[in-house]
Amino acid sequence: MDFHLTKEQEMVRKMYREFAETEVKPLAEEIDEEERFPMETVEKMAKLGMMGIYFPKEYGGAGGDVLSYAMCVEELAKVCGTTAVIVSAHTSLCCAPIFEHGTEEQKKKYLPDLLSGKKIGAFGLTEPNAGTDASGQQTTAVLEGDHYVLNGSKCFITNGTVAETFVVFAMTDKKLGNHGISAFIVEKSFPGFYVGKHEKKMGIRGSSTCDLIFEDCIVPKENLLGQEGKGFKIAMMTLDGGRIGIAAQALGLGEGAINEAIKYTQERVQFKRRLSQFQNTQFQLADMHTRMQAAQYLVYAAAMKKQNHENYSMDAAMAKLFAAESASDVTRRAVQLFGGYGYTREYPVERMMRDAKITEIYEGTSEVQRMVISSHLGVK
């Protein structure tokens, strides 16, 4: 594995970092406090190509690579977990499946608006009774002439209230189980499609999370994504890619917390010494950094494999598992280093700790990642 970044990757990281520091960081506290979706930031990111980083220019993408996408999510998450997941869900869960499984007509119709950030994308798989066990889909799709009719509901949909294009999964043939699930591209304007209640969350509070409701929703037949019955496979492949994004988000959160802790412990004086002069602080930070550095290698390796069209399913699962658990650990330790101030909203580490927790849960819990990894090992 070559860990040298290209000149373009070095440059693009610098741009993300400047953007994150200048445009994203100043809003992070406010959007968390107010549970407000930062639409103004999305518009700015759209102009810079950040909503379609690794897709070809012919579809309106920026012509970058998967690693530069992961670095984008990482740099955003260093200062704001919410903004990072907006990019991740949009890119990995909506743009990617359309690009990878869509027909030429579907790609030409949907990708330019998505990749240029004119429209935000989302992904509808999880249901109230089908979480980790995604195969238990209860939403149904029935073909009636030139269209499908969808009925059912989805929950915990990231970007749900702001997205205009959704990749949605539904049972076209219940008898076939997993093989009866199909994927659809659903537009917000389709009749019978409703956006439901907004969830109040522990962290990533500026991101939009809500229910989607389908009541005799009419979806044109040409909006079937991939073949009928291939939906589960598309969902699993999509989540493999999504895990790189979430792993990068966790990575950024952990690194961001370390940056804050280094700064703070060099300023804060107790017992007439800076906190950074205590060996406990030094060792804590050394451990925290080592963990996140290891996480970075895993995340970048998974991204490079995806870029090179190698099988990266296990790599993405390992990256997400390790980065997410490390982020939770590191952000918690950062709060401890800050002491009482760390528990207040005066400093960002408590927000980072709340934001980090979700990375162990969404797009496959840590337990699911362990299932994926062990099955790749052939352990049954």
């Binding site: 506290e29 700064k263 703070y264 300023e267 804060r268 101030y341 005066e346 400093y347």
Partner: protein, 379 residues
């Protein structure tokens, strides 16, 4: 032009000159400062000091320059010189310099001076040092200045009597030593212009001390009206309008001076803020506040300095009634000069303050405003 040769150093016997900038017929304060400074340099060189004044109908304000030390003033009066233009002013000044050959030319480093200076120096083929804060000719005085204001070892200071110029050892005793900050003030450099004349410098306004005015010298000041030509063909730009505007409130981050208030103003919030505004005004800065003042609604959020507010590094930061909690210090500790006023002598703000006054801000601030006004007036 063909006869002009800036490298014939010995030919430049025309004395020390100061470009005396006027706007709308009023002399800029920096003109008096530079005349005062120029007097010292002329005396050190044993030569005369002249102002050069351009404008329309400005002869009446020329003699005042004599009161600060000018032996004479070259007055160039012309309708096309009413407002400053790069083309008109450069043409006239260069023509007059070529005729009268001054040894030194000082220009105030105003937005106009810094437009004019480089254009003239390029046309005359001579050296220009920008935004100087200290000028010397006399080597003894220069070395004393270095002893006081640098970390140079004594032998390094002694070695400044000569410079290597084109591989030759050059005695700098008659050269103008032009000292200026570089790299954001982290380094100072003394520049010379050994091979060309006039040696030119733009000088930072407000730095040089204005001499006491002497009416008798003003009366004796000679007015010289040099010949020059200026036609519409010389003018490549057109001044459509000149607008005087009150200084726009700069935001905290770019401000040179920030006066911040904290919880200490609680007994009279409006009065405290008003005092901060007055102090900010005399210092030419803006008002900021600690988180307490923002959370209490005393100041709007854009005033906040600190961890969750803005990080500032002004030249002067005044903390009035701010204890100096770590989250406040994070936003201002890199300021060049920190002045703190607080009733509590153990307040952490005093640990990082350059100058601390332990006292009631409501009593100290008005005194400080008066003292600064007086100090500025004395300059």
């Amino acid at each position: 032009m063909s006869t002009f040769n800036s490298s014939d150093v010995a030919a430049f016997k025309g004395g020390v000159w100061v470009f005396c900038e006027q706007r709308q017929g009023s002399m800029m304060p920096t003109s008096f400062e530079l005349i005062s400074e120029g007097r010292k340099l002329a005396d050190e060189l044993g030569t005369k000091l002249y102002g050069i004044l351009l404008g329309e109908g400005i002869e009446g304000i020329a003699k005042e320059l004599g009161g600060y030390g000018a032996d004479g003033v070259y007055v160039c009066d012309h309708p096309m010189l009413k407002d400053y233009t790069t083309d008109g002013y450069t043409k006239v000044i260069c023509d007059v310099i070529e005729e009268y050959k001054p040894e030194i030319m000082l220009i105030g480093a105003t937005n106009i001076g810094r437009d004019l200076g480089p254009r003239c120096a390029a046309r005359l083929h001579t050296g220009l040092c920008a935004d100087c804060t200290h000028l010397d000719v006399d080597m003894g005085i220069y070395k004393d200045f270095l002893k006081e204001n640098s970390t140079l070892a004594p032998e390094r200071i002694d070695a400044t009597s000569h410079a290597m110029v084109l591989g030759q050892k050059h005695d700098v005793s008659r050269d103008l030593k032009m000292t200026r900050p570089a790299f954001g003030g982290h380094l100072m450099a003394s520049i010379i212009c050994p091979r060309f004349r006039p040696a030119m410098a733009t000088v930072r306004p407000g730095v040089m001390k204005k001499a006491a005015f002497d009416q008798a010298k003003a009366d004796a000041c000679e007015i010289i009206k040099p010949e020059f030509s200026l036609t519409a063909d010389d003018m490549k730009t057109e001044v459509v309008e000149v607008v005087k505007a009150a200084k726009k409130l700069v935001d905290l981050i770019g401000a040179d001076v920030v006066v911040s208030v904290g919880r200490g103003i609680s007994k009279d919030v409006e009065g405290g803020i008003k005092l901060a505004e007055e102090l900010a005004e005399v210092l030419g800065g803006v008002v900021g506040g600690s988180r307490a003042t923002i959370d209490s609604g005393w100041l709007s959020a854009d005033h906040q300095v600190g961890q969750t507010g803005k990080t500032v590094h002004p030249k002067i930061y005044v903390a009035l009634g701010i204890s100096g909690a770590i989250q406040h210090k994070a936003g201002m500790q890199d300021s060049e000069c920190i002045i703190a006023v607080n009733k509590n002598d153990t307040a952490p703000i005093f640990e990082i303050a350059d100058y601390g006054i332990c006292g009631d801000l409501f009593k100290v601030t008005p005194l400080l405003i008066e003292a600064i006004k007086a100090a500025k007036a004395a300059k």
